[in-house]
């Protein structure tokens, strides 16, 4: 690209060095074409408004959960001796620990709220109808995965609240006929809630569910790209 002005949508760049750097990338990877098609010259339907943003906001919150969660893992220790102490340490001693934990705990609740708003919007405007039924199913899966993340994360501080919430949460499916007790047993990793439970909740919370959720978000977004944004109501 040997030009004087680089046009990226409304942005005009004349700086030689900036253009050189950009061209270097563009010559090798064809970045300009992708940026133009997907970002700068992408045409977005005019009827999109406030309520259309909640899927994206939920996605943003997920990214934020992943980042703040990884930061919490720097200090958090998933043992029944240390869990509560390390969370207290994050809150009271680690600089900005309150900020990271606060963002994670608030984010987890907000994420459920934004997902629910997103679902209501899709439902009310009938966007779930063909050809988008499959993406509705994927979306509901994402909602359930997020509930799973909240449920498993809630035990991690190992407080009275966390403990008894998990008692209740594992007792509830135990009411199912025939399979209930086995489900409770599997969730707790035994008859009672203890170290085994904390260990498996931690593993599920920080590895299993985040990885699955990220992949399912991928499926969700791929479908949106293939099908395009739904037209106005």
């Amino acid at each position: 690209m040997d030009i004087e002005t680089l046009h990226l949508g409304p942005i005009k760049i004349k700086n030689k060095i900036a253009i050189r750097l950009f061209s270097a990338l563009d010559d090798r990877l064809g970045v300009k074409e992708i940026l133009d098609d997907e970002v700068f010259e992408k045409i977005v339907p005019a009827h999109l408004g406030f309520w259309s943003c909640f899927g994206g906001i939920s996605f943003f919150l997920f990214i934020s959960q992943v980042l703040t969660g990884m930061l919490l893992m720097v200090y958090y220790e998933p043992t029944i001796e240390e869990a509560h102490g390390t969370v207290a340490m994050i809150m009271n001693e680690v600089p900005f620990g309150w900020l990271i934990r606060g963002a994670h705990a608030w984010g987890s609740n907000l994420m459920l709220v934004t997902i629910m708003i997103h679902m209501v919007k899709i439902y009310v405007s009938g966007i779930y109808k063909p050809p988008r039924e499959l993406n509705w199913v994927v979306g509901v899966t994402l909602f359930l995965l997020t509930l799973g993340l909240s449920f498993t994360g809630y035990l991690l501080p190992w407080t009275q609240l966390a403990y008894w919430a998990t008692v209740v949460g594992t007792e509830t499916p135990a009411a199912l006929p025939y399979v209930g007790e086995y489900i409770r047993y599997a969730m707790r990793g035994g008859e009672e809630i203890g170290q085994v439970t904390l260990t498996r909740f931690f593993a599920i919370h920080v590895m299993l569910l985040p990885v699955i959720t990220a992949s399912v978000i991928g499926l969700h977004l791929i479908q949106i790209r293939r099908q395009g944004i739904a037209g106005p109501m």
């Binding site: 004087e4 002005t5 942005i11 005009k12 760049i13 004349k14 700086n15 030689k16 900036a18 930061l71 720097v74 001693e93 680690v94 600089p95 900005f96 620990g97 900020l99 990271i100």
Partner: protein
């Protein structure tokens, strides 16, 4: 190419210059806003280790039989107390001066042996062989009543 003087921004106009400066300013302020808490959060802090801060330590004499060595935690780091014979009580840092492994006591030979590269020390910590460049650093030790008291030197 445009005249690329310093009063022009990325798009080569004066207006662009201000826009670029504003972008650079708010960009760096928000970058700092993220980097500062993140750096502070991640920077390691002193953990309150049991025994740290105490300048001396008491070990019951009966805990260290003649000929044997006991490893303890002193000032947040390992220390070893050894009684090679009836008369002597020696306290040393068991951290090998070569590359930091913890030496072990060999009762029969009455020597410390470093498992990492075979450094050897006598019961006073003097190097007998291998790569360690200097002796095991000593602590002061004394016997008071039925206790061994170790202190920093």
């Amino acid at each position: 190419m445009s005249s690329d003087t310093s009063t022009e921004g990325m798009d080569g106009t004066r207006r662009g210059f201000f826009a670029t400066m504003a972008l650079a300013f708010f960009g760096s302020v928000s970058a700092l806003g993220f980097a500062y808490p993140l750096g502070m959060y991640l920077w390691p802090r002193e953990r309150k280790v049991k025994g740290a801060g105490e300048r001396s330590m008491k070990i019951p004499l009966s805990d260290v039989p003649i000929g044997e060595a006991r490893f303890v935690r002193f000032l947040g780091k390992p220390a070893v107390v050894v009684r090679p014979n009836e008369q002597q009580v020696i306290a040393l840092s068991p951290i090998c001066p070569h590359l930091g492994c913890i030496v072990k006591w060999r009762e029969k030979e009455k020597e410390f042996l470093c498992p990492c590269h075979g450094g050897r020390f006598d019961s006073k910590g003097i190097v007998l062989g291998g790569p360690p460049p200097f002796p095991l650093p000593p602590f002061s030790s004394s016997v008071e009543a039925e206790y061994i008291v170790i202190k920093e030197v």
